[in-house]
């Protein structure tokens, strides 16, 4: 019995020591600076599941507003670019861990995110919007959410808002992405959907949905910007200059027209 206990505690202590050492070592790694990127390629990430900003078409190509913006910025900076996708809920960890140089993925600037990442100048702004089923008439203000099921996407600003404001008033349901919430709303599994307006508006143009937007008064808007690792001023400066350039020469507007079109404001 004693031998077993001894053996067990020895193994256990070693295991804990190994895990502790790994945790200590797992500090953020240093960012690649501009010069390093110039000699290689600019590694850009987006979620690949957020049409029209970034998505995979049925031919398997990663396309969208953010992909074109990344290409346009790289052209201005005179660097090669490689745009790839990574699931949204892993992107911030990937950025902090130095896996990618820049996240051009329609990320809203929030205080929490600013603690771990640096943001460029905004390149558009996104606002929350409220959606209900077509035949729903009893939801006209935030007070009407009482007792309802409210759906939002994990890790998005809409989810943050719903959790902070809904405390005890309504029930929050969290989903992996916009397609999931839209299906849930369509089939009545949730009563209210909170999501960024532009993607829903664009999805509505392409897919018939029996849902409608309701105006419940002022909801927060956030400027969206390019996120990079902290302490990399040269890269940030180069991105901001390139951003100003593409706005100046009309490239930016052309990309907006191509992917967002009319009917949705991104300013």
């Amino acid at each position: 019995m004693t031998t077993f206990t001894q053996r067990f505690s020895k193994t256990f202590t070693t295991a804990v020591a190994v895990m502790g050492a790994t945790a200590v070592l797992a500090m953020p790694s240093h960012a690649r600076d501009l010069e390093e990127i110039r000699g290689d390629v600019l590694q850009v990430v987006n979620s690949g599941a957020y049409p029209p900003f970034s998505f995979v078409d049925t031919q398997g190509n990663l396309v969208g507003f953010d992909v074109d913006i990344a290409q346009a910025l790289a052209d201005k900076m005179g660097v090669e670019v490689n745009v790839q996708s990574s699931p949204w809920n892993g992107i911030i960890a990937a950025m902090v861990g130095g896996r990618f140089d820049a996240c051009i993925c329609s990320m809203s600037i929030t205080e929490e995110r600013q603690e771990v990442l640096d943001f460029s100048d905004p390149y558009y702004s996104s606002g929350l919007s409220i959606w209900v089923q077509e035949e729903t008439n009893d939801i006209n203000s935030i007070d009407d959410f009482a007792g309802k099921q409210v759906g939002s996407t994990l890790g998005e600003t809409g989810n943050q808002w719903a959790v902070e404001n809904g405390d005890g008033k309504w029930r929050n349901q969290t989903f992996q992405g916009l397609p999931d919430i839209m299906s849930a709303l369509n089939s009545g599994r949730i009563d209210v959907m909170i999501a960024d307006d532009v993607p829903v508006l664009v999805a509505m143009q392409e897919n018939e949905r029996d849902i409608k937007m309701v105006d419940v008064g002022e909801l927060p808007r956030w400027p969206a910007a390019i996120a990079i690792q902290q302490d990399n001023p040269e890269l940030l400066e180069a991105l901001n200059v390139a951003l100003a350039d593409i706005k100046e020469d009309g490239t930016y507007q052309a990309i907006v027209d191509k992917w967002i079109g009319e009917g949705a404001s991104i300013e």
């Binding site: 193994t11 895990m19 599941a49 049409p51 049925t58 699931p87 892993g90 861990g97 896996r99 992996q176």
Partner: protein, 218 residues
């Protein structure tokens, strides 16, 4: 059901299924050697080596595969270990399945009757020859089924490597749903593909089992 869409995206999903097979097969292959190494270490004369192997197995079995992936992928760069996503998936998969497999192999070796060992030694076989020609052939039949179960679990767990941005079957399906809004069709297709892969693994294991036990009386 939108059958046109299903036909259209099938090639993309097959390609992604290829990544799933590739990553799983490599992890199982390298995992087998890691498992053998661990079995060897656990029976080593030098005590710290035994502890090392045992602690390693406890750490791997005590933490979720998902967490191991995140730790190596996101934590790795800070200790200078910058693996690309695919390699990272293979490495973590191999070290993960290796720990489980070593226990399966050790269990199989230990369940061979000790009389077999004694008989071989009394016939003048050395330790290594006894293990190689008497014990292992009998243990093989015992270990294949449990190793097979681990292989199947690994194939299905490989869907988790999507979190480190490997575009395998599950992540490709999710990305396509993002642009097509057709979860039923796409998940049905990907589920069918997993079934085919797992059946193939089961078939190979069954063949291996028959070969390993062909001289054994039942």
């Amino acid at each position: 059901m939108d059958f046109n869409l299903m036909v259209e995206i099938t090639p993309l999903l097959i390609k992604a299924a290829g990544v799933t097979i590739d990553i799983s097969a490599r992890a199982i292959f390298f995992g087998f050697f890691i498992a053998c190494g661990l079995v060897f270490l656990r029976s080593a004369r030098i005590r710290p080596l035994r502890w090392l192997a045992r602690s390693y197995i406890s750490v791997v079995r005590g933490t979720p595969y998902f967490v191991q992936l995140l730790l190596v992928f996101y934590g790795g760069p800070s200790i200078g270990l910058r693996l690309d996503p695919f390699t990272c998936g293979v490495v973590v998969g191999a070290f993960n399945i290796g720990a489980y497999m070593s226990e399966a192999i050790r269990g199989a070796i230990e369940s061979v009757d000790s009389g077999q060992n004694e008989a071989a030694r009394s016939l003048g076989f050395g330790k290594a020859r006894t293990l190689l020609f008497v014990v292992l052939p009998q243990a093989a039949g015992l270990m294949i089924r449990s190793v097979g179960v681990l292989a199947i679990v690994l194939v299905k767990n490989s869907s988790l490597v999507s979190i480190i941005s490997v575009v395998e079957l599950t992540y490709q399906a999710q990305r396509l749903i993002g642009s097509t809004y057709k979860p039923l069709e796409i998940f049905t297709l990907s589920a069918l593909m997993y079934i085919v892969i797992v059946y193939a693994v089961m078939g190979m294991m069954e063949l291996a089992y028959r070969r390993a036990t062909r001289y054994q009386s039942r």
